[in-house]
């Protein structure tokens, strides 16, 4: 929100003034801020030489949300500590500030090259974060083209973060790196490296922040670009618990940016795919789909809830509607109905269950197809409709319930999607979001439903990086503010 260079210059200058007027500030924190501020001012002058009118942005903001692109490099060790690593880098943090400044100075010549492109490469580490209702999605760019000089200058915090993140695939109890999604030898902003995809539950965010505080993560002076509702909800926590300023970004902007970026940089296997012969289980196979000029396209993001966006071009989209029956509903109901505790567990149960024991089908009512209205006998007439009856409630398994929950949530999303597509006159739908992660069942159901009920008019498309587009979009904002 506080982005838009130039546009918000005034506010930021105002903030600086306000800050400077304030006597003393807050105890030791304030003292540290002062120190940092001085350093930063140095940095600012430095930056000002490079990008003129952006100067005032970098002025004040250790309390303000406003963050210049080149301010803090955030310590990697903080992340690692939070996620369960040791915190041995404590002592380096205090030095971090000046080290970073030195690095900036040393980067001067390379930046000058970028100036012609009006691009300012931020200091490492590069993170993009998407704090959703259920999951925090983090993308991390690991530079592989680090020169010896850089290596030498790289502060310990930064190094340890890099090592920690790239040498592990699980962090703490709940953090996971999706290795299969990693994008190797990717060039971003003139640097080549690997893009890593990491997630952990939003409810573990306080631990993350606590760790960040302990490890003085803030000394790395990186800009932490964050999107998703949590960027707003936890902004104060980031500041108070970890002394971190978030650059808050709109989640839908990020989502769309991320989708088209990833699709454009991934070639094999193709990022976007669809199911061929979705109505024929025998021959239903994934096929790549080129997403170069997909407009207009309906982008359905299934996270805890569901958002549906009609996208007309990269920069022109609207949120058409959404539904509260999403991934959160599936997991929430499954937890209540089956006692399971994780998405994976719920999916596993669902894969073994039989929803037709739980649902009432058209044939259960009409004995077969309801021909007058072209309803096939296998269609679900009433989700959970059989559960009205006590005997049937007693005869079904938890797996059946999980399956029925999955099927009804998925079909409902499909049904709303189809109506929205009809109303908006759109023929292609891209489904994204973490609900689809390892959830072939739902994807095939959606592909089937789109195809069957639209009589082949609607195409359901899927993307391999399902839930990470928001965080990719956030990272892109860091590298190239739009």
């Amino acid at each position: 929100m506080n982005r838009r260079p130039g546009g918000e210059t005034k506010t930021r200058r105002g903030t600086t003034a306000r800050m400077n007027r304030r006597p003393g500030g807050e105890n030791e924190d304030a003292a540290r801020h002062h120190g940092e501020m001085n350093q930063r001012r140095g940095g600012n002058e430095d930056a000002a030489r490079h990008h003129g009118e952006n100067e005032p942005e970098t002025g004040g903001g250790n309390e303000d949300a406003a963050q210049p692109p080149l301010k803090r490099s955030r310590s990697r060790s903080d992340v690692s500590n939070h996620l369960g690593l040791d915190g041995s880098n404590m002592e380096t943090t205090t030095a971090g500030g000046s080290a970073a400044d030195e690095r900036r100075t040393s980067n001067y010549s390379s930046r000058q090259r970028m100036d012609s492109l009006r691009k300012i490469r931020p200091p490492f580490p590069w993170f993009g974060m998407d704090i959703g209702g259920t999951l925090v999605k983090l993308v991390y760019f690991e530079p592989k083209d680090i020169t010896a000089e850089e290596e030498q200058e790289e502060v310990e915090n930064l190094k340890s973060i890099r090592r920690y993140l790239t040498s592990n695939t699980a962090y703490g109890k709940t953090g996971i790196r999706d290795v299969h999604l990693e994008l190797k030898d990717l060039t971003m902003c003139g640097r080549t490296g690997n893009l890593h995809f990491i997630r952990f539950p939003t409810q573990d965010l306080p631990a993350f922040l606590q760790m960040a505080r302990n490890k003085h993560f803030s000394s790395l002076h990186t800009t932490l670009c964050a999107t998703g509702g949590g960027a707003y909800k936890f902004e104060l926590d980031f500041r108070q618990m970890a002394d971190l300023q978030l650059l808050k970004l709109d989640e839908l902007d990020c989502l769309i940016r991320g989708v088209f970026y990833i699709d454009s940089v991934v070639s094999s296997p193709s990022e976007c795919y669809y199911y061929e012969n979705p109505t024929d289980p025998e021959h239903c196979v994934q096929k790549p789909f080129p997403l170069e000029n997909p407009y207009p396209v309906l982008l359905v993001n299934i996270g805890s809830g569901v958002s549906m966006l009609a996208v007309y071009s990269k920069n022109n989209y609207k949120r058409v509607t959404g539904t509260s029956l999403g991934g959160g509903t599936f997991l929430g109901l499954c937890c209540l109905l089956t006692g399971c505790s994780s998405f994976e567990e719920a999916l596993e149960m669902a894969s073994q269950g039989e929803s037709t024991r739980v649902d009432k089908l058209v044939r259960d009512i009409y004995g077969g197809d309801y021909e007058r209205f072209g309803l096939p006998g296998w269609a679900v007439a009433s989700s959970f409709g059989n559960m009205v009856c006590k005997e049937k409630r007693e005869s079904i398994s938890k797996e059946d319930l999980a399956r029925a929950t999955l099927v009804s949530i998925t079909n409902n999303i499909g049904s709303i999607t189809r109506m929205v597509a009809l109303n908006e006159n759109i023929e292609r739908v891209v489904f994204v979001g973490n609900f689809l992660r390892v959830n072939t069942l739902s994807m095939k159901l959606l592909a089937y439903a789109m195809d069957y009920w639209s009589k082949g008019q609607l195409k359901a498309l899927f993307l391999r990086h399902e839930g990470y587009f928001g965080s990719v979009g956030a990272l892109l904002e860091l590298l190239d503010p739009s």
């Binding site: 509260s324 959160g328 007058r372 679900v380 009433s382 989700s383 005997e391």
Partner: protein, 938 residues
């Protein structure tokens, strides 16, 4: 899916045969019942049959008056005759009673012609054998959806106030809708165990356009799993006590507040059950049920909204067991629809929603009787009314068992249609005050009718001196009507909007129910007799007056005649105690001019102009009123060269003159008056029946014949007389021709409310309207697009306005009702240059700029100061102008539609009148003043 879930677990355990059914209360008229139909749902059975009711009616028969009259001979004789009335019975009861009920029917069924019972509903096949065994009828299964739609069409067409909007927190939860003359097209969302979405385009064309598997069965099934609560009603009870916020993940749970850039408020549900995935805690049954209810209602609402938009439909009715009589679900569905359509679509519910299937099945079986050819009317005496079995309203009946809900509909002898002269049939509301919204007025009138009950009972008994059991019947009547009044006190919405009219009609229905078809027959006879004797004298004395004196005397006589009204307590007390109370005394009682509402001067001016072509006169009371008040007035109209159509009630109501009686009276008057005689002979005076049997008047349900006559004769004046017809109803009725509404206020409470006193006079002459005014407002293109559709919507509510929004280059076909248009100088009246439009040779207007035409049938005063080319301009009243402009300004204000920016955008050619312009520059205000319709009388 339409099918309701079967409840196998319920039907068997409570098969209680021990209950005895009160035969005179339910399953009435089984003796001659035929054409059975049954709709067996998940928990309730709905039975329908057709019966004929032997029913006493009062007939009058004229004596042969060639024989010499003696002073003592009554004018006509009255007799009671049996008449056959066709009636539809619908009874709803718990499935548990099905066997008992079938036994009862078997025992009482006499008619053996019936061979088949039409059946529909999910439970029909389950009970097929039982029904066939018990009733020896062949079960003939009908398609559920077809029945549903047929039933829906039937109730929408035949029951006024069938549809309502539910507003939980409003003064009256139920806001009943006017029946639109054309009920199609509409969307029916049937929420049974699943959801079916049906688009209905005509009587026989409908299509299931979509559906959803997440419906009532999902709520019930999932609810049962989550809360271990078995019954649907109990689940709803649980839900109404819960807090969904502890289970659902709200936007603020994710964002910490609202998601401002998308306009999503913090309280919006982001993920249903989202919290139960992350929080390791126990959730209360109530909270889970509430969350589930919200989830399902929102989901259905969203789909309904998507389908309505796709098919471009704004009338969306909801039905099915999920909705049926449950304020909780009606509320959540309404909320969801409002949210998703931002108010563009209203969720509509039906009073008799539960009966649709059985009505439809019945109609399928009765096709040879052509039930759709007739008009039907809800019999208030035999119908239970809305929510009679609602556990929310009657906590004593929580279990519902043992309650039988009934609907009875009488076949009306004639088809009822709109008065063709109604300005806008779709917005016409007969009743002046909606007692369900006005608690004070409700209190008063309920009390008033209760007070008057003794008198009515007495009168009823006295009307049948030869029948000893009359007293007993009268007591039954008293009991029944009292019970109705009590019901209405608690459930004012039971039969649609509660009005004085509905209270009166209910009383008539109850009287008929107990065979008191015409308690006032003798009084009417006596008074007619007496008044006739004075007729010639009255006419003579009128003829001696000067023209102008006579006009006033005629009006005064009409008003004095209207004092004689047994329906008004203040008057009936006088008439009871002083049988000699006469015409002259009545005149003295009348308020002196200026009257409470006094448009006499305008009327007099009008009479100086050319005669009306044809006047339609809705008459009121017998006796002095009709004979000494109405007939002289009618005589004068006839003399002026105006044809007169006298519309009177088809069947008795209070002491109102009926069509039969009026025919005899007219003959008698014709015999002594040559003007009337020749008019009758030449068909310049015509008697028609209104089709009504109410002391009030619903201009949207009138005899088709009357409508035809009105049209053929180019009626240009409507006269409505009496408190019931001109004040309780039609006070605000907007007609497309001139109208006179005359009444004496014979109720001190009402007089007080209107700011008058007992015997205050209302003389309302509304000019109008066939020559419409075109107000042309010049606006920029951008305004035309957005705000004017809103404005038009509002103006339609306000009633008389029919706006057309046009774009550049459009041709507007002007209504043929604007004959003077070619001469109409738009520019001078509306301050718009003529460059904006050109009148084409073919009579259409070519619009050059984007502007709005408000075609508003006139409140003529608007243009009074201008050079209005029509001769009637002297009759324009400033008040009308004021009201119109108030409505317009307030709209512009409140919607924030027209800002100063917009005004500036309009081209320099246009100069809007100063007041409008200055108002446009003012700040937008919240809410608007009520338009003309809502003013007064409250």
């Amino acid at each position: 899916m339409a099918a309701e879930s079967e409840r196998v677990d319920r039907s068997s355990h409570s098969m209680d045969k021990s209950i005895t059914l009160p035969p005179d209360e339910i399953f009435r008229n089984l003796e001659n019942a035929k054409r059975f139909a049954i709709d067996i749902g998940g928990s309730l059975t709905k039975l329908a049959y057709y019966s004929t009711v032997q029913h006493k009616v009062a007939k009058v028969r004229s004596f042969d008056h060639t024989a010499k009259d003696t002073e003592d001979d009554p004018l006509y004789e009255i007799s009671m005759q049996e008449e056959i009335l066709a009636r539809l019975h619908f009874i709803k009861f718990e499935n548990a009673y099905i066997e008992t009920c079938l036994d009862f029917i078997k025992d009482h069924l006499v008619n053996t012609d019936t061979k088949v019972i039409k059946a529909t509903g999910g439970g029909a096949h389950k009970f097929k054998d039982l029904i066939e065994k018990k009733l020896k009828l062949r079960v003939d299964k009908e398609d559920e959806m077809t029945c549903l739609i047929k039933g829906c069409n039937f109730v929408l067409r035949n029951i006024p106030h069938e549809a309502f909007v539910y507003a939980k927190h409003a003064d009256s939860e139920f806001r009943f809708q006017n029946t639109h003359p054309d009920i199609f097209p509409y969307l029916l969302i049937n929420i049974g165990s699943g959801v079916s979405i049906i688009k209905v385009e005509s009587e026989d064309t409908f299509e299931r356009v979509g559906g959803s598997s997440i419906g009532g069965g999902t709520f019930w099934g999932l609810g049962a799993l989550l809360t271990k609560t078995k019954r649907f009603d109990e689940l709803l009870q649980l839900a109404s006590k819960g807090q969904h916020t502890s289970v659902d993940m709200l936007v603020k749970d994710i964002y910490g507040g609202s998601y401002g850039s998308l306009g999503l408020t913090g309280d919006l549900i982001a993920s249903s059950f989202g919290k139960s995935a992350t929080a390791d805690k126990e959730f209360s049954k109530e909270d889970m049920a509430k969350s589930l209810l919200h989830m399902i209602s929102n989901d259905i609402g969203q789909l309904a909204c998507l389908y309505a938009r796709l098919h471009n439909l704004t009338r969306v009715y909801f039905g099915g067991f999920f909705i049926r009589g449950h304020p909780v679900t009606m509320h959540t569905i309404t909320y969801s629809i409002n949210f998703f359509t931002k108010g563009e679509v209203q969720a509509l519910f039906l009073r008799h929603e539960g009966y649709l299937g059985t009505i439809g099945a019945f109609l399928k079986g009765a096709e040879e009787d052509n039930p759709n050819q007739y008009s039907w009317g809800e019999n208030y005496a035999g119908s239970s009314g809305l929510m009679s079995t609602s556990p929310d309203l009657n906590p004593m009946q929580r279990a519902r068992s043992g309650t039988f809900d009934m609907l009875e509909m009488d076949r009306l002898e004639r088809q009822l249609v709109n008065l063709p002269l109604l300005q806008d049939p779709s917005s016409y509301i007969p009743d002046t005050v909606d007692l369900s919204e006005d608690a004070l007025a409700r209190e008063y009138w309920l009390y008033c009718f209760e007070e008057a009950l003794d008198g009515v009972v007495k009168r009823a008994v006295a009307s049948q001196p030869d029948l000893p059991e009359a007293a007993e019947r009268a007591e039954k009547f008293r009991h029944k009507y009292l019970h109705k009044l009590q019901t209405l006190r608690h459930q004012p919405f039971a039969y649609g909007s509660l009005t004085v009219r509905s209270l009166l009609d209910t009383r008539e229905h109850c009287l008929n129910e107990f065979n008191f078809p015409d308690p006032y027959s003798k009084i009417k006879q006596r008074e007619n007799d007496m008044a006739l004797k004075y007729f010639q004298k009255a006419v003579k004395s009128l003829e001696e007056l000067s023209w102008e004196q006579r006009q006033f005397a005629l009006v005064r006589g009409l008003l004095a005649g209207n004092v004689f009204d047994w329906g008004a307590k203040a008057v009936s007390d006088v008439l009871e105690s002083d049988p000699e109370f006469g015409f002259e005394q009545a005149k003295r009682q009348l308020e002196e001019r200026p009257w409470l509402v006094d448009a006499y001067d305008q009327w007099l001016e009008r009479l100086k102009g050319p005669p009306h072509k044809c006047a339609l006169f809705f008459v009121d009371n017998s006796g002095i009123d009709i004979i000494l008040g109405v007939f002289p007035f009618v005589r004068e109209l006839l003399c002026r060269g105006t044809e007169v159509v006298l519309a009177s009630n088809s069947s008795p109501a209070l002491n109102d003159v009926t069509n039969n009686e009026l025919q005899i009276l007219t003959e008698r008057i014709a015999a002594m008056d040559s003007v009337i005689q020749s008019a009758v002979k030449e068909d310049r005076l015509k008697l028609v029946q209104s089709g009504s049997s109410s002391p009030c008047l619903d201009l949207s349900r009138l005899d088709k014949v009357l409508a035809g006559v009105v049209r053929e004769r180019h009626t240009d004046l409507v006269i409505i007389e009496g408190m019931g017809r001109a004040i309780h109803t039609n006070y605000y009725a907007m007609l497309s021709c001139e109208s006179l509404k005359m009444a004496v206020i014979k109720n001190s409470w009402l007089a007080d409310r209107l700011g008058g006193k007992l015997f205050s006079v209302v003389f309302k002459y509304e000019w109008d309207v066939c020559s419409s005014v075109l107000l042309v407002l010049f606006v920029s293109q951008s305004v035309a697009g957005t705000c004017f559709s809103l404005l038009c919507g509002y103006l339609e509510e306000v009633a008389p306005l029919e706006p057309y929004v046009t774009g550049t280059g459009t041709r507007v076909h002007l209504s043929p009702a604007t004959p003077s248009l070619p001469d109409f100088p738009l520019s001078s009246h509306c301050h718009i240059t003529q460059k904006a439009h050109t009148l084409q040779p073919d009579g259409t207007l070519l619009i050059r700029k984007s502007f709005m035409l408000l075609h508003y049938p006139s409140n003529p005063a608007n243009v009074a100061p201008l050079a209005w080319p029509l001769p009637q301009r002297q009759m324009l009243t400033p008040a009308a102008s004021y009201l119109y402009h108030t409505a317009l300004y307030n709209t512009l204000f409140s919607r924030g539609c027209l800002s100063s920016e917009n005004a500036e955008n309009s081209t320099p050619e246009c100069s809007i009148t100063t007041p409008i312009l200055s108002l446009l520059k003012g700040p937008p205000v919240n809410g608007y003043m009520k338009g003309p319709k809502e003013k007064g009388l409250r």
